[in-house]
């Protein structure tokens, strides 16, 4: 695990701000941005994978039974999956509620 971004000193930055730890965007948990989360009605889901295809942040995972669900660590709650779902089985639910 790399040092948290707000603890890194200027001396620790690689020349040219090159990032040598590949895939470290994973450490950035964008789920904290969310105000609404997608909730899937598994009874309606036809397992087509359109939500998985359209998710701009690769935050839709396929469960072992073939259903799709959001990875809430990274899901920003943009709602594209709900908009694109052909059977309307995804609803956006307020995080406040």
């Amino acid at each position: 695990m790399a040092k948290p971004m707000d603890k890194i000193t200027w001396q620790e930055i690689e020349t040219g701000s090159v990032v040598t730890e590949i895939g470290n965007a994973r450490q950035y948990e964008t789920g904290s941005w969310r105000s609404e989360r997608p909730v899937v009605d598994a009874k309606l889901c036809i397992k087509c994978g359109v939500c998985w295809l359209f998710c701009p942040d690769s935050s839709v995972k396929q469960a072992e039974d073939g259903h799709f669900e959001a990875d809430l660590v990274y899901c920003k709650g943009c709602g594209i999956c709900a908009k694109e779902c052909p059977v309307g089985c995804i609803k956006m639910v307020s995080e406040e509620g």
Partner: protein
Amino acid sequence: MARTRKGIEVSIAMADAVAQANVDVIAAYPITPQTHIVEHLSEIVANGHLDAEYVPVESEHSAMSVCCGSAAVGARTFTSTSSQGLALMSEIFTIAAAMRLPIVMALANRSLSSPLSIWNDHSDVMSVRDAGWIHIFVENGQESYDNVFTAFRIAEDPDVMLPVAVNLDGFILTHMIEPVIYEDDETIRKYLPDVKMKNALHPDNPVSMGCFGMPEIYTEAQMNREVGVQNSYKTILKAWKEWGDITGRHYHPVETYKADDAEYCIVTMGSYGETAMEVVDSLRKEGEKVGVIKLRLWRPFPFEEFRKAALGKKSLIVIDRAISFGGPGGPVASELRSALYGQPGAPTIVNYIAGLAGRDVARADFRNIILEGKAKAAKGETDGFTLYGVRG
């Protein structure tokens, strides 16, 4: 090629130097007055005399983008531009420095539009002053040729890793035919080792370049760059020293002519230094205690050397080749004022902006500027600037 002295157009000599430096990639878009540099390089590559990729891009923005890509894999990379071309590549120009990519550029200085002008001044380079590149200014053909090699040597040094612009005055230098000594290939090969880049892009060692940075990290990234540019100074001195040891032609961040016992000095950057020296010779014969201070290195700014040359003089007459509209004067004069502020023994500065868009500044004009500047300094008229020769 053996060591030889030939009469040659400066642009061609520079292109030959780039070929002797054995570059891997050239990406450029032709623009006056840089055209002969890239045309000649294109011929050299097309004729099979240089094993390099010549990428004839569709714009300067693309030229600098290609340069970034090729420098990122550790390929020796060259480009050249002027004026509007530099303006068009400015987005990627800054990124090249931030990503610490050791690109070398011949920047054939030309005025920015409008009015549309193809002629020489320094308004193009001043528009990218703060982009984080190293800027060297040359005065004649030999210096243009020599500093292609020193620029690669500086840029690619593992302690530096920064792009370097060799600034040469458009037409005044690019289209001038002068005697230039070419060094032999073996000398160049020894002076310029292969590029060794720590984090070059390679499938075996994947890295990410040009990443996103949150406010939590941006300040630290800029500090890292600033220290990088400052640290390049000692490598620049070393690269010039070694070049001087090999060729007998020595370069320094600040150079002076008859300045030691001078009471006042004219300060120039670029090709004007040549004329200034001639005029100083004739004024010296008339008893004027005048000398020349020439800035060769613009970034990183050579504070120590400049102060050493300037402190103790009565006044400096600074010639700028660009206007900072609504600002304190020409960019050179304002930086010199800043460098001298609060220093004991600091001379006053009289600032002239002259030679915009290639308007001739002949020996008689230098003489006027020096004598009028001296009189202004004596009367304490040292604020702002004078736009030399403007009608009305």
